[in-house]
């Protein structure tokens, strides 16, 4: 029984983080219809920012998590720069294939640049404790406060995002661009600005995800983003790409699958299982659990 509970809690912990990351992913994908391979690496950027700023905050007498605000700023800047410098010019001149390759190139660049900069370097760094340890004990197994906090934050973010895209002008503009770009232009929406805003928000979310990630897994390393990003992408697709509640749903499902596979099958097969799910979803219902199918206009 306790193994089951343990596995369940680990799954919830993983899932809450995947959900947070997936929310940012799905938002950006919904708008520019491009898998931002670099999204996971934005998390890495956020993580390292906090590695450097947490000590500063603590010496100022502030709680560690205040460092997230600076991380949000840094990540948002990185995200917007990526869009302005790399994605936009290629979107204009190139094909969707070149845009995709650009995304991969940016991801590679960020990861390897981080490795090459000596202050960051290829060796992992450990973050100090951010939130109080401990949690609720159920049948000999602990459900961390941090995990519950992460779940709450994901839900809050999801609700806020949802309201934002439904009720605010900027949010609605984002939805318009994701549905029909040419029509949005005709309606007077500044598409370029909307896209940059989307990146800012999405990357900012990545910073929050980074905070919750290192709160539970304090090891920060340069390739931490790539697997995380990929699994978050699988989560977003599973739930329905471009659909905000879908990202939450997908995140938790993937987290639980990974946890249960690690416990009951084998840890080395866990990643493979996650990808297997992606393959099955894309073959059976590409629009995802909550998604609707839209064909190509001929």
């Amino acid at each position: 029984m306790s193994t089951f509970l343990q596995t369940l809690f680990v799954g919830l912990r993983l899932g809450s983080i995947y959900a947070l990351v997936a929310l940012g992913y799905t938002m950006v994908y919904g708008i520019i219809r491009l898998i931002n391979f670099a999204h996971g690496d934005f998390i890495m950027v956020g993580g390292y920012t906090m590695i450097f700023t947490i000590p500063v905050m603590m010496s100022l007498g502030l709680p560690a998590w205040v460092s997230v605000f600076l991380a949000i700023l840094v990540c948002a800047l990185v995200g917007m720069s990526t869009e302005l410098i790399a994605y936009r010019p290629v979107r204009k001149k190139g094909t969707s294939m070149t845009a995709l390759i650009t995304a991969i190139a940016v991801s590679l660049l960020l990861e390897n640049l981080a490795q090459a900069i000596p202050q960051i370097g290829p060796n992992p760094k450990i973050a100090s404790q951010i939130f109080a340890a401990g949690g609720i004990r159920i049948a000999d197994v602990t459900l961390d406060w941090t995990t519950m906090l992460t779940i709450c934050i994901s839900v809050v973010v999801m609700v806020v995002l949802y309201q934002f895209t439904q009720k605010t002008k900027v949010g609605r503009a984002m939805r318009c661009v994701s549905e029909d770009k040419p029509a949005s232009i005709l309606m007077g929406i500044n598409v370029n600005r909307t896209i940059v805003t989307t990146f800012a928000i999405g990357s900012g979310l990545a910073a929050i995800a980074a905070l919750m990630y290192i709160a539970q897994y304090p090891k920060v390393y340069t390739t931490m983003g790539s697997m995380l990003g990929l699994k978050a992408f699988v989560s977003a697709v599973l739930g329905g790409i471009g659909i905000i509640p879908g990202a939450m749903l997908g995140g938790f499902v993937i987290g639980l699958v990974e946890s249960f596979t690690t416990s009951y099958v084998s840890s080395s097969m866990a990643d493979a299982f996650v990808f297997l799910i992606l393959i099955i979803v894309l073959i059976l219902k590409p629009a995802g659990i909550l998604g609707k199918n839209m064909g190509e206009k001929v």
Binding site: A86, L108, N112, L230, I279, P286
Partner: protein, 383 residues
């Protein structure tokens, strides 16, 4: 005199290759320092050979068919491991004892072929579900498959875990079988070269036929291709499998030129040159849609990689630059970013470098210059 232009082209290209090979065998004999050929040039040629095959075969899928497959190295891994395991099995079964003689050559040929065929079968398996998807999704799914394949090999008891994996604890059983040491790499270098030439020729034959036209049509407009009667699923699957075949052969060559095998070298986030991103860099650099471009880019990237890792001049650079070169993948990432943003067509675009094209282009340029002169003269005489 042979009039047909295509035949002329073939004869010309064959002559050039023959000349290059003859020149090469002279170099082999007469090369400078005694050890250099054995220690540096021969292994380099082996590496160049499988890189060329990898790049050109991925170009079939990426450049000609227009689908981004990120799992190419998974197929290579299959080829490498199958070739290695089969050769070990053959050795255990007593089919050959030394790495020489007819029996061995037959085993070698058999392993290379089997490697390709196995990789092709897996390629088909992967392709059937994957090719129903487009662009981004196909990229991620092939990435996933690549990872799953390496994962599976890792978990097979006779391969990853106790068989061929490197680890201080596990015995490198692979020291026998195909793994060539330095001396044998020299003796059998003609194998690498011939296999590469045959593979490249096979790819050219594929591309300059109804198959090439069909897949380029699919690349340019899949709906229109369907509407022109092309069975897109069939050609996509065929190309995928065909491309995977060569990746498998490249893997076999890799297995030949390495005494040990490890799944870690094929991992996606690995900084080495066997990961699928490196192959993508080669294809993009050379030109998506140009086989000669891929060949050229493979050689270029090999030289870049070699120089970064071993070049004497690196020690002379400022420290921060040296730090960058300690991570070759960073250099490749920069190359990829620069190429994709400023010259997405790559070096050659869709143009195939060939002597015949070169000569006829020169002729056309001369013609148009003469025509222009004539037009100018006429224009002036009208005034």
């Amino acid at each position: 005199m042979i009039k047909n232009k295509t035949t002329q082209g073939y004869i010309l290209n064959t002559l050039v290759i023959a000349l290059l090979l003859i020149g090469f065998s002279f170099i082999k004999e007469a090369y400078g320092k005694a050890g250099d050929f054995k220690l540096i040039i021969a292994p380099s040629i082996w590496q160049c050979c499988y890189l060329i095959i990898l790049a050109a075969s991925l170009n079939l899928t990426l450049g000609f068919l227009g689908q981004l497959s990120l799992g190419h190295c998974g197929f290579m891994a299959i080829g490498a491991y199958s070739a290695a395991l089969l050769s070990l099995a053959a050795e255990r079964a007593g089919i050959f004892t030394e790495k020489s003689g007819t029996a061995f050559i037959l085993v070698l040929a058999g392993c290379i072929l089997a490697a390709g065929i196995l990789a092709a079968l897996v390629g088909l398996l992967v392709g059937i579900p994957a090719l129903r998807l487009k662009g981004d999704y196909l990229a991620i799914i092939t990435l996933g498959f690549g990872m799953i394949i390496v994962n599976i090999i890792n978990n097979l008891p006779f391969a990853g875990q106790e068989g061929l994996a490197i680890g201080s604890a596990s015995p490198s059983l692979y020291k026998n079988g195909l793994g060539f040491g330095t001396a044998l790499k020299v003796t059998y270098i003609w194998v690498a070269i011939v296999v590469t030439l045959v593979c490249v020729a096979m790819m050219f034959m594929f591309v300059r036929s109804k198959y090439g036209r069909a897949i380029r049509a699919i690349r340019d407009d899949e709906i229109a291709a369907s509407a022109s009667g092309i069975n897109t699923s069939f050609y996509k699957g065929l190309t995928f499998a065909y491309s995977a075949f060569f990746a498998g052969v490249a893997g076999a060559l890799y297995a030949c030129s390495n005494a040990t095998l490890s799944t870690a070298s094929f991992a996606f986030s690995n900084g080495g040159i066997l990961n699928s991103t490196f192959v993508v860099v080669m294809v993009v650099l050379g030109g998506m849609g140009s086989l000669t471009g891929s060949i050229a880019a493979a050689v270029v990237m090999f030289l870049v990689n070699y120089q970064i890792k071993n070049g004497m001049w690196v020690k002379l650079l400022p420290m921060w630059l040296q730090n960058i070169f300690a991570f070759p993948m960073l250099v490749y990432a920069v190359i990829l970013v620069i190429v994709i943003m400023f010259r997405p067509k790559g070096i050659f675009g869709t143009y195939e470098l060939s002597l015949r094209n070169f000569v006829s282009d020169m002729k056309k340029q001369r013609q148009s210059r003469l025509l222009q002169k004539q037009n100018n003269k006429e224009a002036m005489s009208h005034e």
